[in-house]
Amino acid sequence: MRASDIRELKIVIVDESPIRSLILEEGLREAGFTEVERIGEMHNLLKHIYAIDPDVILIDLENPSRDTLEQMFQVSRAVRRPIAMFVDQSDAASIQASVDAGVSAYIVDGLKKERIKSILDLCVSRFKAFSKLQDDLEQAKSDLEERKTIERAKGILMKAKKLSEEDAYKLMRGAAMRENKKIIEIARSVITAAEMFK
């Protein structure tokens, strides 16, 4: 593949998640695709796409506007007819991987198979990176929530039983070990009980 082939390729990313589409755009640019545009606004979607006249359209599978794109196959007056990524089924694994990662591609007829594959593979890895990022963020959020709950339960015990912070924590940890539960569960019970005794 010559470098000039890559540069000429125009790619549109249709995604309402600005962070994810940015991650994908960066990946494509790093891979040498310079003509990348992002559409995050779904109104007049087809009009925007026709104006850009892309070779490849990437869309996330959570996007209900995917059905709007399907209309492109019907419009006989369109200058160029895009085709679905499924048309060449010789690389079923790559197609399944992209559906599982949550992205779909529409490709203008005549594009070489290996180029499609490289774009799809890139999409898959970037979409996976994004969902890992999201999972990490969720995890961090719930870790923080748990720490706050444990702190609150500790405070309740310190006040009610006149304990030091360390002893309050030990008390909960001891209860957790005895009952074979997590310390967060004990902390939640302490808070519930304290609310009932109010």
């Binding site: 996007n63 209900p64 506007s65 995917r66 059905d67 196959f73 019907q74 048309v87 559906v99």
Partner: protein
């Protein structure tokens, strides 16, 4: 099928998935030895693709889409079969209050033939005045919504490909676009037209059943290979769906069914709206209601038994609107999508299907596509 079979089924959150949702929720599938996992989807294209690559074992699908996939139209060819209908009808054509006022100024707006002629006059006038053509929304190129709109308009003398714009929009966006003035009307499944009426921005002009009396709307689709590999699984699934539909159709279950379907993991709209859809009792504009027992048909009068004539008729609509070319081989392939043989093997005593019927035009005969298509002034011929 040995032991309990895990079956993944994709669906779009619509009231016409009722038989499937109730069959699963009420344990009819479990009783048949099926562990059904329902997966809610956001687009028809997703449903089709996940069915095609085997992520779904079966799916709630637009009947014309099952035919299109089998013929390889608009997409890669993936042969599907539909051994059961999930719904007949259920759509409505709604227009903006502004367009409704213009139509009403032309005269009576009760019958589709009257509204189609009135619409044609407005279309002609707009052209003379140099105004933008009207824009109507529908949900997919291979959908009953598309064919209902086109059939209706063409009866008034409108060529839907030249005289106005037809665009695909996800149903939740229809109402918003109508409010913004970017759409003048749409044809969509419940409850979206009711949402437009309740918001005071739209009027329901016609129920889908006023255009076609019994239009094949949704089917349960499977890959052809799945049906060949495991016929007992297909039979179990059909019995469960049939029981689900019977439960939905029993008037004494109306409240319970509406409540179940309203859950966020199923259709996710107000139970009262679902109740109205199921009983065919809709508000069509301010202080005006319309009732039609055929507004949405789930299982009554043997509606679930698929009839190959329905697939032929769908193929004829595709031909009329230039979505494909005629060949006797394609016609046979289309016909083979609907599988009454599988239905009959699983379910006893089903009635035969009545004609689809339309408010105008000839009755359809699958042995003669040419005469059927030639009888319309607008549309392609063979």
């Amino acid at each position: 099928m040995t032991g309990e079979a895990h079956v993944k089924i994709g669906f779009i959150p619509l009231v016409d998935a009722a038989a499937l949702l109730i069959a699963t929720h009420k344990g009819f599938a479990k009783a048949e030895g099926l562990d059904v996992e329902l997966i809610r989807e956001v687009s028809w294209a997703n449903v089709r693709d996940k069915l095609a690559i085997g992520r779904f074992d079966a799916a709630h699908l637009l009947a014309p889409m099952a035919v299109a996939s089998t013929l390889g139209l608009g997409h890669v060819r993936v042969p599907l079969i539909a051994p059961i209908n999930l719904a007949m009808n259920g759509n409505a054509i709604a227009v903006s209050t502004a367009l409704y006022a213009e139509l009403a100024a032309e005269g009576e707006v009760a019958h589709p033939a009257q509204t189609a002629r009135a619409l044609a006059k407005l279309v002609a006038r707009r052209r003379v005045e140099g105004r933008d053509p009207l824009t109507f929304g529908m949900t997919f190129p291979f959908s009953m919504h598309n064919y209902q709109l086109r059939f209706w308009m063409a009866e008034g003398g409108i060529d839907p490909d030249d005289d106005l714009r037809l665009i695909v929009l996800p149903p939740p966006y229809m109402v918003e676009n109508l409010a913004r003035g970017q759409l003048d009307g749409f044809c969509v499944g419940a409850p979206w037209s009711s949402v437009a009426v309740d918001a005071g921005i739209g009027v329901i002009l016609h129920f889908g059943c006023e255009i076609f009396a019994r239009a094949p709307e949704k089917v349960l689709a499977l890959r052809e290979s799945v049906a060949d590999d495991d016929p007992s699984l297909v039979a179990a699934l059909l019995r469960a769906l049939h029981k689900g539909a019977a439960f939905v159709d029993d008037p004494k279950n109306l409240d319970e069914v509406s409540q179940i379907l309203s859950r966020p993991e199923y259709v996710g709209v107000d139970a009262e709206i679902i109740r109205r859809v199921l009983t065919g009792h809709l508000r069509i504009k301010a202080r005006d209601e319309r009732a039609d027992a055929d507004y949405l048909i789930i299982g009554k009068d043997g509606a679930m038994r698929p009839d190959p004539r329905q697939a032929e008729w769908i193929y004829a609509q595709m031909l009329r609107w230039g979505q494909t070319r005629y060949s006797s081989e394609m016609a046979d392939r289309a016909k083979g999508v609907l599988r009454p043989d599988l239905f009959d093997a699983a379910i006893d005593g089903a009635h035969s299907q009545r004609e689809i019927g339309a408010f105008a035009g000839p009755s359809f005969d699958g042995r003669n596509y040419a005469d059927y298509l030639a009888s319309f002034a607008i549309g392609q011929r063979v």
